[in-house]
């Protein structure tokens, strides 16, 4: 049953560091800006500056390095593929190895590792964002960030409400899945043996009750929300209002300096 307990909600690491205390909108904006700079940057020196900046933020955030690096695990495959493809296919620069049909050129090696490095920095910056920002704060920030787009028909409030409800119900539904699983196991269901197809099939008696129950919950929740006067985002006020502090200004200034230096080099 431990498979369900391992599912963590986002990857928020609670704390009170400078990075944690930044307004989520600032963090969201800076993470986006960082990614843009990352894609404009061309030289190794620029990347070094950006990497140094990342390392500094990680240290400031007081999040264990291990946790930050864990974010890289899912992209290991992509990383190695990127490097391998570039190393073996590129025909730029000086020939380094020439053996049988394998030809490795210096341009390919440099390009491959630069790209991989860029990917690593990209994932690290988003990891830091989600590690230091609670899902609720992030939802608020996304709602506010999307608000100007409402004119073009982007349902900012509705998206944020959906995210909040999803976050609220993930633990509840996981608990329920576990209960159903135990009930089915007690009746002789087998979730763990057999091939991929058989195992996928054996999940049906788990998924169908779970879906039915989710729909019933949705129905009841909608009624409870209406009973509490919910009628969309129009005319709604906020209990917790996000406020920028001086910290946000400093962060933005530091970031601008790093960005300018990185692009100038």
């Amino acid at each position: 049953m431990s498979m369900l307990q391992n599912v963590t909600l986002g990857q928020y690491f609670p704390g009170t560091s400078v990075v944690h205390r930044l307004d989520p909108r600032t963090k969201l904006g800076l993470a986006l800006a960082y990614i843009i700079v990352l894609f404009i940057a061309r030289t190794g020196l620029s990347y070094s500056v950006l990497a140094l900046a990342s390392a500094g933020i990680v240290l400031l955030s007081e999040v264990p390095i291990k946790l930050v690096l864990r974010g890289l695990r899912p992209i290991l495959m992509i990383l190695s593929l990127t490097v391998v493809l570039h190393v073996f296919t590129s025909r730029e620069g000086v020939e380094l190895v020439s053996f049988w049909f394998i030809r490795i050129y210096s341009g390919g090696v440099i390009q491959g590792f630069m790209l991989a490095f860029r990917l690593v920095l990209l994932v690290l910056s988003t990891s830091i964002l989600t590690l230091t920002t609670s899902p609720i704060a992030l939802t608020d920030a996304i709602e506010l960030a999307l608000r100007p787009l409402r004119r073009f028909g982007v349902p900012a409030h509705e998206l944020a409400m959906m995210m909040t409800i999803a976050l609220r119900f993930i633990p509840t539904l996981l608990e329920e899945a576990e209960k159903i699983m135990k009930a089915q196991l007690a009746r002789g269901a087998d979730f763990e043996s057999g091939g991929l197809l058989k195992r996928a099939k054996s999940l049906l008696p788990l998924l169908i009750p779970l879906f039915i129950s989710a729909f019933r919950r949705a129905d009841e929740l909608a009624m409870a929300m209406e009973a509490r006067c919910y009628r969309g985002g129009e005319g709604r006020t906020k209990y917790k209002v996000l406020a920028y502090s001086r910290l946000d200004l400093y962060a933005a200034m530091c970031f601008t300096a790093v960005g300018v230096v990185a692009l100038a080099l």
């Binding site: 005319g235 006020t237 209990y239 917790k240």
Partner: protein, 292 residues
């Protein structure tokens, strides 16, 4: 959309009760024919009342409750909430603000991922200014004695605690009437006791007008008035002492008499001189302790 809130300054017109139903019928339209859930209900709930509505499954008690805040609209007849007709769509949000409802399943009525944010959900919807929301959230959580857990995630709470949060969420909207639609049905005995204690505290401190829909008779005896429903009609109504003095009627409706009342009756029959009309365990203990 403007939000109309009924402050204490607003005068309730005339002598309208908090709830008044007149010849209320409700028919559920279904694929396999219609179900006549309510067949002519005339009741009145006054300010300060504490009413319990009892009845077996399918007696129409929950359907009736859903008419109190316009979740359901009458097929025939009228429901007036503070003099406002529930069929008037312009008054819908004023009605829902005035009648707070707590539902059966504790999990399916908490919206936010943190307790205090959930309590703030109602006031946010009403457009209450931010500083006042904070005050309301604090006050409501204090009233249900959940202030200490305000930053917790709802899925870590017990059933009784979740229902108390749900009650706080309703109180923060400053309702005139609190309706509990089988709010204790899914709880364990400890959780039930917590919720009932909360309701009694609200009654004694805030004089909250309360409608308690339940199938636990030991909860119904706490009310000032009991309405017994069966097959969509009111079959008996009166003080708990009056209603529970008719065990034959209750039994024919598939309802129970409170355990303490049953025991008192048996004791009287076997020769003990106890006073009539004992309904709760506390009353029974009191009378038994007079013997020496």
């Amino acid at each position: 959309m403007q939000c109309v809130e009924l402050n204490s300054g607003t005068q309730i017109k005339g002598a309208a009760g908090i709830i008044e139903t007149k010849g209320l019928h409700h028919v559920y339209r279904g694929h396999e024919g219609d179900t006549h859930a309510l067949g002519g209900i005339d009741i009145r709930i006054e300010e300060g009342d504490f009413v319990a509505i009892i009845g077996r499954n399918g007696s129409g008690k929950s359907t009736l409750a859903k008419h109190f805040n316009a979740i359901l609209l009458p097929t025939e007849g009228r429901v007036l909430v503070l003099g406002m007709d529930t069929r008037d769509t312009g008054l819908l949000w004023s009605i829902r603000q005035a009648v707070g409802m707590v539902f059966q399943n504790p999990d399916n009525q908490i919206v936010a991922t943190v307790i205090d944010e959930d309590v703030a959900f109602g006031p946010e919807n009403l457009g209450v200014p931010t500083p006042e929301i904070a005050e309301r959230v604090d006050a409501a959580l204090r009233q249900v004695n959940m202030l200490a857990l305000r930053h917790h995630a709802p899925h870590l709470l017990s059933g009784g605690q979740k229902q108390r949060v749900a009650i706080a969420g309703v109180l923060a909207m400053h309702p005139k009437l609190l309706v509990l639609d089988e709010a204790t049905a899914m709880l364990d005995p400890v959780g039930r006791a917590e919720v009932i204690e909360t309701i009694l505290a609200l009654r004694s401190i805030a004089k909250m007008t309360t409608v308690l829909i339940t199938h636990h008779m030991d909860e119904a005896v706490l009310a000032h008035r009991v309405i017994v429903m069966d097959e969509g009609r009111v079959v008996a109504s009166g003080t708990p002492a009056e209603v529970f003095a008719q065990p034959e009627l209750l039994e024919s409706l598939g309802l129970d008499v409170p355990l303490a009342a049953k025991l008192a009756k048996e004791l009287i029959r076997s020769g003990l001189s106890l006073p009539e009309g004992i309904l709760t365990a506390a009353q029974l203990v009191d009378s038994l302790c007079q013997f020496n």
